[in-house]
């Protein structure tokens, strides 16, 4: 892990502080650089001066990239889109923590006021067998889509639904379903898990649908098929470290894993297949 040529980049501090004199942060970034899938990677060191504390973490990387491009270098590739913490595109590891130090916060919502001047930040991609690195901080999380395709739905064709209020759902159940359905599919849970397990992601979807009367007829299939798909993708087993819960930007609860275990056990017994 050799440090490549250090680059000093001027970060644009905003003049919004008291009397316009707010001092920006000085930071050292060690960023994972990798050209392509399977290619060797290494950390590259960059120094940033005068970084505004009102910036988001991704805006700080924007500033770094502007500088790199102007110097004729390759900018750091990272995924992002909504920058509001809901699309699930962004995510990488900062100083060993998926999505960085702030609880229940994606990196796009993480602001530089969470850091101190003089800090060194080690930035690397989510690492897991099932999430191959594609370039720099970009990983392939399509395994999640394949798990959902295996059963993360209620089978109801368009046009065949009864009146919405014909299905009464107690408020508490609806709230519970929502809490689980709030998952944004960012994959931090997998990156944070020492085993690279996807149990929290799968548990959230299974729990969301198990809490509702809709789709009960396929409840067993759902649990069995999603777990089978998860195993096939190369995610590891759960050994209850609950690092996934600690890293989840949406506060998805660990009880979803317990529920997945119950759903899977019940379904296995009923189907007699395991």
């Amino acid at each position: 892990m050799s440090a490549a040529s250090p680059t000093a980049v001027q970060g644009a501090a905003s003049p919004t502080g008291a009397a316009g004199t707010k001092q920006g942060l000085k930071l050292v970034l060690k960023v994972w650089r990798q050209g392509a899938r399977g290619a060797p990677g290494q950390f590259e060191t960059h120094e940033l001066q005068n970084v505004s504390t009102d910036m988001s973490f991704l805006e700080m990387l924007d500033v770094l990239n502007e500088g790199l491009i102007r110097e004729g270098k390759d900018p750091v590739a990272f995924e992002h889109d909504c920058r509001e913490g809901i699309c699930g595109s962004c995510g990488f590891v900062i100083n060993g923590q998926a999505h960085g130090p702030q609880k229940e916060t994606t990196v796009c919502q993480l602001h530089m006021r969470s850091f101190r001047s003089g800090e060194t930040l080690v930035i690397e991609p989510f690492r897991a067998t099932a999430f191959p690195i594609l370039k720099d901080l970009v990983v392939d999380r399509s395994a999640f889509d394949r798990i959902v395709a295996a059963g993360g739905y209620v089978s109801v064709n368009t046009g065949s639904a009864p009146d919405a209020n014909a299905i009464l759902i107690p408020k508490d159940n609806a709230e519970r379903a929502f809490d689980a359905a709030a998952c944004i599919g960012c994959g931090a849970c997998v990156a944070a898990c020492p085993n690279g397990s996807a149990m929290l992601f799968v548990g959230a979807k299974v729990s969301h649908l198990a809490a509702l009367p809709q789709g009960q007829s396929e409840r067993d299939h759902r649990a069995l098929d999603m777990v089978a798909a998860m195993d096939k993708e190369g995610f590891g087993d759960c050994s209850n470290h609950l690092e996934c819960v600690a890293s989840c930007p949406k506060g998805i609860a660990g009880t979803n894993i317990a529920q997945l275990n119950r759903e899977f056990a019940k379904a296995s017994l009923r189907s007699g297949s395991r």
Binding site: G11, A12, S14, P15, T16, G35, A36, S52, D54, M55, E59, D62, E66, I69, R70, K73, P75, D81, C82, R83, E84, I86, C87, S89, T105, Q109, L110, R113, L134, K135, D140, D145, V148, A149, A150, G151, G152, Y153, V154, V156, T158, G159, A161, A164, N165, I169, P170, K171, A174, E175, F178, A181, A182, I184, G185, H208, L209, L212, Q214, G215
Partner: protein, 648 residues
């Protein structure tokens, strides 16, 4: 003014195919009159859906359920990341579950009026009719809408309406609806019926014998240029708000698919109809990469105000009620804080421009929950808006339970888009346009909680019926990707990529995008003037010239290259922006989100000119560097009388 366009007038090229007869029967009658494709024949037709937001995912899922061969392409690594996911507040439906006088006709009426009479009545009525089925469908999919203790669905009210018809899932309604549509789509993927192609950006539309027959895409992870042939192409690629650089849109939202289809013959309608959302977190610095919306639902409980005295620098909690100007309640007593978005945005701008704004820059107004917290308790407010308050605090470092939020308007949604007829088919046969990408249903201003409704109406219910008019109604000879039209389009896409890589200039793509955005905000934003628009057009052209000389794209085209992706999008924004400004300058009236300073009432409200502009303007591309032709689709109002909107 230089007459850049020839006004082609009422065009025979714009056949709306709008049904006639009593408005409440039109959609059912039209469906009955449409041709059908028999179940066994559907598998013979290949449909390409570009984009997997609410419109695209719902269309792809439904068409696949019906038995068509469907390919769904999306720009993201996963279809669930489309920008619909970020919609917060809710989705309207004329269920009248609250028994407060709502009906299909009232939703229709509110939408036509809210759109300032610049939408097609038949389309809007269909939307209102379908709204109720959408809620049924979403509930059946397991979308966890908010509920009452008895287990029935809860509702809230939204701007521009005096009934509670908005269904919601906390402040994440878009996310939950999209995950519903996504799961329906992934079910089809899982069964092998639907071909999902993520990480693809559409670079061109392929037209054979005048009919849309495929697309050229770039695989964003490998750089491969691919050809895909089809019998019909559906564009569900969202709006163009990012022409302003700073907007509430996601960073990857762009006009490229629409614009390149436009250059292949699809008319672009009403590009100047842009929605500026009144409640967004104000800009904090020059590095700002996007703006964050705070849901309109907050105006149910938050009160908007500024100090009565200019330059009052006291902290908000030290300004007593008698020194506060609750200007929306003052100006619009019957709708109060829930006036439509265009009205609320202009009122905020008016106060700030007059020197009453708050915050360091003076470019924001307060949205205050003090009274609601006193009335209902903090726990109730937290339950309703907790995630929004949390998001606000993260971005600003201020706690909105203690100090009022500061808000300023920002670009949020675009009502304009590719022109479509009643079947949602563009002027290129076989090219359908759904959701925000089309122009049709919101007129000159969209009401809150209506975007989700329209996207899902188009995808779940409209296009699955109307697509048969094309597939069964036209003779579609077999076309493969070996057709010369594919080679031509692919060659053009490759040449453009090479040109970008060869430039080796000095500036980044973003730096040009920011400059364009500032110009658009200043001259084509909340208030527009003839002189400003003329200046904007000239400046856009200069900027485009400079861009094509001076941008620097690192790397190559054989791998992930995000700068190269951005270059194509910004190149298109730089062309599109000029048409936007042209459309705004030719429309010599104010309506909805299009506010021309020359045309206002003595009270400063938008003043329409129904005599001359009661129409949709659809622009025809006539060749690179040539003026576009303006076509007109007259709008007639049989059921909602053309009146000056009033929310007083």
């Amino acid at each position: 003014m230089v007459p850049m366009v020839q006004d082609a007038g009422r065009s025979t090229r714009l056949d709306s195919k709008e049904p006639s007869g009593p408005i409440a029967d039109r959609w059912s009658q039209h469906k009955f009159n449409l041709k059908l494709v028999a179940p066994a024949n559907r598998r013979r037709f290949q449909v390409i859906v570009v984009g997997t937001g609410l419109a695209g995912a719902s269309a792809a899922a439904t068409l696949s359920e019906l038995g068509y061969k469907v390919k769904a392409l999306c720009i993201h690594g996963s279809p669930r990341r489309a920008h619909s996911i970020a919609a917060q507040g809710g989705i309207n439906a004329a269920k009248n579950y609250q028994n407060d006088g709502d009906s299909v006709h009232r939703l229709f009426y509110d939408t036509v009026k809210g759109g300032d009479f610049r939408a097609r009545e038949s389309n809007v009525h269909r939307l209102a009719e379908i709204s109720t089925q959408i809620i049924d469908q979403c509930v059946a999919q397991g979308v966890p809408f908010a509920r009452e203790y008895g287990g029935t669905l809860a509702n809230r009210s939204f701007g521009g309406a005096q009934v509670s018809r908005t269904f919601y899932a906390r402040g994440q309604t878009g996310q939950q609806l999209l995950l519903g549509a996504y799961s329906a789509m992934m079910r089809q993927v899982g069964s092998g019926a639907l071909d999902l192609l993520p990480d693809r950006e559409m670079l061109d539309l392929v037209v054979v014998d005048g009919v849309a027959r495929g697309v050229i895409v770039r695989h964003l992870r490998t750089g491969a240029i691919e050809r895909h042939a089809a019998d019909a192409v559906l564009l569900c690629t969202g709006g163009y708000g990012n022409v302003f650089y700073l907007s509430t849109n996601a960073k990857n939202s762009n006009v490229t698919a629409s614009w390149r289809a436009h250059k292949r013959g699809a008319f672009f309608a009403n590009p100047c109809f842009t929605q500026i959302h009144p409640t967004c977190i104000p800009v904090s610095g020059s590095y700002q990469s996007k703006l964050t919306l705070m849901s309109e639902s907050l105006r149910n409980d938050g009160r908007v105000w500024v100090p009565k005295a200019k330059g009052d620098r006291r902290r908000a909690d030290q300004i007593p009620d008698e020194d506060r100007d609750y200007y929306l309640e003052r100006r619009y007593p019957s709708f109060g804080n829930l006036v439509p978005r265009d009205v609320a945005s202009r009122a905020a701008k008016e106060r700030c421009d007059a020197g009453f704004g708050v915050g360091e820059t003076g470019m924001s107004v307060f949205l205050d929950f003090r009274d609601a917290i006193q009335r209902d308790g903090e726990a109730t407010i937290r339950a309703k808006y907790g995630n929004l308050f949390q998001m606000y605090e993260r971005i600003t470092g201020e706690d909105p339970y203690k100090v009022p939020m500061r808000m300023y308007p920002a670009v949020h949604y675009t009502m304009g888009g590719l022109w479509v007829d009643y079947n949602l088919e563009s002027t290129v046969p076989g090219l359908f346009v759904l959701g925000e990408a089309n122009f049709s249903d919101h007129g000159a201003n969209r009401l809150g909680a209506s975007a989700l409704m329209q996207g899902l109406a188009d995808g779940y219910f409209v296009v699955p019926a109307t697509i048969a008019s094309h597939l069964a109604g036209r003779v579609l000879p077999k076309v493969t990707t070996d057709h010369p039209a594919f080679a031509e389009a692919e060659g053009a896409a490759r040449a453009m990529t090479q040109r970008f890589l060869d430039l080796r200039g000095t500036r980044t793509v973003d730096s040009y995008h920011r400059e364009l955005g500032l110009l658009m905000w200043d001259e084509c934003g909340m208030a527009r003037t003839r002189e400003g628009l003329a200046k904007a057009k000239a400046r856009i052209a200069e900027l485009r010239e400079a861009f094509w000389q001076d941008i620097r794209i690192p790397g190559d085209a054989e791998n992930i290259n995000q700068e190269l992706e951005k270059a194509g999008r910004v190149a298109d924004f730089l062309e599109f922006a000029e048409l936007f400004a042209e459309d705004a300058s030719v429309r010599e009236e104010s309506c909805g989100g299009h506010f021309r300073e020359e045309y206002q009432t003595p009270e400063g409200e938008a003043l329409r000119d129904d005599e001359n502009f009661c129409h949709a303007a659809a622009w025809e591309f006539q060749g690179q560097g040539k003026p576009e032709a303006r076509h007109v689709e007259p709008l007639t109002f049989e059921y909602v009388k053309l009146t000056q909107r009033s929310y007083k």
